[in-house]
């Protein structure tokens, strides 16, 4: 964001002052000097007036032994957005929602030329925060700042529970403020309202790994838990684009289907009718057709069997045989059609027509070897066999359509799940949870 700021590798030493706590006598280091309003004694937990040469005690608070130390120790220096900063303050704050307390940590960063900025951390989610330079305009459930609209996320009473280091304001433990968050991921606009003032700040979601890298911290940052209010969705930018791409592909698929249907030959190369005499010994029923030509490039062959089966079946063992090469395609097809009426009403099963598509058949002279079988109790069954060359297989287009649709649905579902997880923690949850009357 900013360049040209002198690095803090050789900080202006004269600005650091060592003092002693008037309460316990422990050494106190003031890192930001004139910028600090209050400083906290880390030994006796007294909040001292940093503007007072005698460090007047403003407040003293108790610290639980379970208090978690800052993840970034005070005095740590790092480069954030091209500017060197030093961690000078730390506070733990909390809100209570429906009886559940949520704690987060805030770090005060200082640069003698740039002033202060802040880092917040909640369950592994970090935000880089600066104070707004202009006053945002607030509307119904939204706020606008620098031309960007932010949706209202949550309003809660924030309490300060623990402080450490220096602060450029009059910090107090158990100080309350009404905190309101508006989000436009990855940014977040927050206001803090006390009896005396309203402070607006702008936060940008920052990954823990970037913080660790910036401050050269040992180990790894804590893993983020859940979805944070301004956490950028991994798929949000893609959903509309993917559906636009899907529609484009679907249109191309439709064009391709029409083109293949129009350009495929679909010519009938053989058509003949037969009668199957039931009761003939099996094996002797087999016969071969006349030879027919399959011309052109390698293409599929559709063999359609139509039989006048009436509550009956006929099964045909087919072999499409190349007269010249001896190559054969062997398959069996059943044509059966049953119907009737029972307590559920009329019913029917099967069809009097069946088609099969033999794949990638080269040009040549072919014949069919047919071996029909049927129920010997039924009268003779008439059937016809039609052979077509080069038919479009619409099933491929259906599969392609689904193959294109499924990823688009999955990505959309991921997007919706992410946004639901985000807003479920807000004042505007997507669904009511439990028996709340809110």
């Amino acid at each position: 964001m900013s360049t040209g700021t002198p690095p803090l590798t050789n900080p202006p030493k004269p600005q650091t002052r060592a003092l002693n706590c008037p309460q316990c006598g422990a050494a106190i280091v003031l890192r930001s000097l004139g910028h600090a309003e209050t400083v906290v004694c880390s030994s006796c937990h007294s909040i001292l007036d940093a503007k007072d040469p005698n460090l007047q005690v403003l407040q003293k608070f108790q610290v639980a032994t379970s208090e978690v130390p800052p993840l970034i120790p005070l005095g740590t220096r790092g480069k954030l957005r091209g500017t060197d900063y030093e961690v000078i303050g730390f506070q733990r704050r909390s809100i209570k929602v429906e009886g559940v307390r949520y704690d987060w940590h805030e770090y005060v960063l200082f640069n003698p030329y740039k002033g202060t900025r802040y880092l917040t951390e909640y369950c592994g989610h970090w935000n880089d925060i600066t104070v707004c330079k202009e006053l945002p305009s607030v509307g119904f459930a939204q706020a606008t700042y620098l031309g960007e609209t932010y949706k209202h996320f949550q309003t809660a009473d924030a309490n300060t529970n623990y402080v450490l280091g220096e602060f450029p304001w009059q910090v107090r433990v158990d100080e309350h403020a009404t905190a309101t968050d508006y989000v436009s991921p990855p940014r977040m606009l927050s206001s803090e309202k006390t009896a005396n003032e309203v402070t607006w700040s702008l936060g940008e979601y920052t990954y823990g790994t970037d913080i660790w890298k910036a401050f050269q911290l040992p180990g790894t940052p804590p893993e983020p838990v859940g979805v944070y209010e301004n956490q950028p969705s991994p798929v949000s930018d893609n959903v509309k684009g993917i559906w636009a791409a899907f529609l484009g592909f679907a249109f191309l698929l439709l064009i391709a289907m029409a083109a293949f249907d129009l350009t495929s030959s679909k010519g009938t190369v053989f058509d003949h009718s037969y009668v199957f005499q039931s009761g003939e010994p099996k094996g002797e029923a087999s016969f071969v057709t006349d030879i027919f030509d399959l011309a052109g490039r390698t293409a599929n062959v559709e063999i359609t069997t139509s039989a006048n089966v009436d509550n009956a079946w006929i099964y045909l063992n087919y072999a499409l045989i190349n007269q010249d090469t001896g190559q054969a395609w062997d398959f069996g097809r059943e044509v059966s059609y049953y119907y009737g009426r029972d307590s559920d009403g009329s019913w029917s099963e099967g069809s009097q027509k069946d088609s099969v598509i033999v794949p990638s058949v080269p040009a040549g002279h072919y014949y069919l070897r047919i071996e029909p079988e049927g129920d010997s109790k039924h009268p003779p069954i008439g059937y016809s066999v039609e052979v077509k060359r080069g038919v479009p297989v619409f099933g491929f287009f259906g599969i392609a359509f689904l193959a294109l649709l499924i990823p688009a649905i999955v990505i959309t579902w991921r997007y919706i799940s992410f946004e639901r997880a985000r807003w479920s923690e807000s004042d505007h949850p997507p669904v009511k949870i439990g028996n709340s009357e809110d």
């Binding site: 592909f249 293949f260 094996g283 794949p359 071996e371 479009p392």
Partner: protein
């Protein structure tokens, strides 16, 4: 990134469909054999279909 991946995937799907269609592939199950003797034409009964022992569904509710 997702969009670029999807675009590449879509092109592959469309291309695959075109290749399948152009080469005359099929979704049906057909058994392919080689070197069927020419005598089958004179004696069709000598050919043994791999589907010859299929147990037929006789239909009906």
């Amino acid at each position: 990134m997702f969009k670029k991946l999807y675009l590449a995937y879509g092109v592959l799907v469309l291309g695959g469909t075109g290749v399948a269609q152009y080469n005359g592939w099929s979704l049906d199950r057909v058994n392919q054999l080689k070197n069927v003797p020419k005598s089958v034409r004179d004696n069709p009964g000598s050919y043994r279909s791999v589907y010859g022992f299929y147990h037929h569904y006789t239909g009906g509710k």
